[in-house]
């Protein structure tokens, strides 16, 4: 299940209507199944990031707020909704598996860029459906992660 947190909806509204607290960039990180993100999740520290190492850097991948990193937009008049798609995200394991130790990657949360990683607001989240691990030399690719905005 994918979704936008309430904090994320607030941050988006704040950015759009008040032109304030706009992050320079966003981060997509991998979280274990220890804590599932929900609409009520606020901070990165509410979740458990996978172990860093072997090609995975703590905090995740940086996403620029541009058409390269958010490369597909959809406006759906039939179903009254819109989507923003994130470019394909790739982590390649080198020298050992990803995660280096501990539980596999179950969720892909997207955060702002607060200088203190633990305090980053969780804006969106995606369920990867199962714990994901990759061995050295393999890549973990998250393709076409799509943020949904619905007019209800």
């Amino acid at each position: 299940m994918a979704g936008t947190t309430n904090r994320g909806a607030f941050r988006i509204a704040q950015a759009f209507y008040r032109n304030t607290s706009i992050p320079t960039n966003l981060f997509a990180f991998l979280a274990t199944s220890a804590a599932a993100p929900t609409a009520d999740t606020n901070l990165k520290s509410d979740l458990t990031e996978i172990a860093a190492g072997n090609g995975y850097t703590a905090g995740g991948l940086s996403l620029n707020r541009n058409s390269t990193d958010f490369d597909v937009l959809t406006e759906d008049d039939t179903n009254d909704r819109a989507f923003v798609q994130i470019k394909d995200l790739v982590w390649t394991a080198s020298g050992g598996p990803i995660p280096a130790i501990g539980g596999g990657a179950r969720y892909l949360p997207v955060t702002d860029d607060n200088a203190t990683p633990a305090n980053r607001d969780v804006i969106h989240y995606f369920d990867l459906a199962a714990d994901r691990t990759v061995s050295a030399g393999q890549s973990l690719t998250i393709q076409d992660a799509e943020i949904r905005l619905r007019n209800v």
Binding site: L73, T74, D76, D77, T78, N79
Partner: protein, 157 residues
């Protein structure tokens, strides 16, 4: 002065005579696309939509045209066990849907009993994502916007 001169003779995005991005075009003017790209767009039954969005190539998709074609393509791929390049995740998702879901997907929303709506919506959503991925790949991964027109018979909910 020197900066201005350098910009004028640098064939980059800052050149005053260049559009900000080759993907887009001002409203009311068609973007300048290579013939091969235009051919791909024709083959995929989408038309270019002019928007004041220089970073994305906006395309208009008519559900009446797109969904029947894409659903047939998905069913054919599943029947022939042929995984289209770059669409593996959608192919595997298609394997979880039965013929009934696809049949209801092609049935107008108003003629569907409530009991089939969830499976029908899943099939239509998969078709939308399959098509979007195919379109994006066909255009070499350039930033695109897809505008689905309003056709209530294809409404999911």
């Amino acid at each position: 002065m020197l900066d201005w001169f350098r910009r004028l003779f640098t064939r980059g995005a800052e050149h005053p005579l260049d559009p900000p991005h080759p993907a887009g075009a001002p409203p009311g003017r068609e973007p300048d696309l290579p013939p091969a790209v235009r051919e791909s767009l024709r083959a995929l039954d989408v038309v270019v939509e002019s928007r004041a969005d220089p970073d994305y190539l906006w395309l208009q998709a008519d559900p009446d045209v797109i969904y029947p074609k894409v659903i047939n393509a998905i069913r054919l791929a599943v029947d022939e066990e042929e995984i289209p390049s770059g669409l593996a995740q959608y192919y595997h998702q298609a394997l979880t849907l039965d013929d009934e879901a696809w049949r209801w997907a092609l049935t107008p929303r108003g003629q569907c009993p409530d009991a089939v709506l969830a499976a029908r919506a899943e099939a239509l959503e998969l078709a939308r994502r399959w098509f979007t991925a195919q379109l994006h790949a066909e255009l070499g991964g350039r930033p695109i916007g897809v505008h689905w027109l309003k056709r209530s018979r294809w409404r999911q909910a």
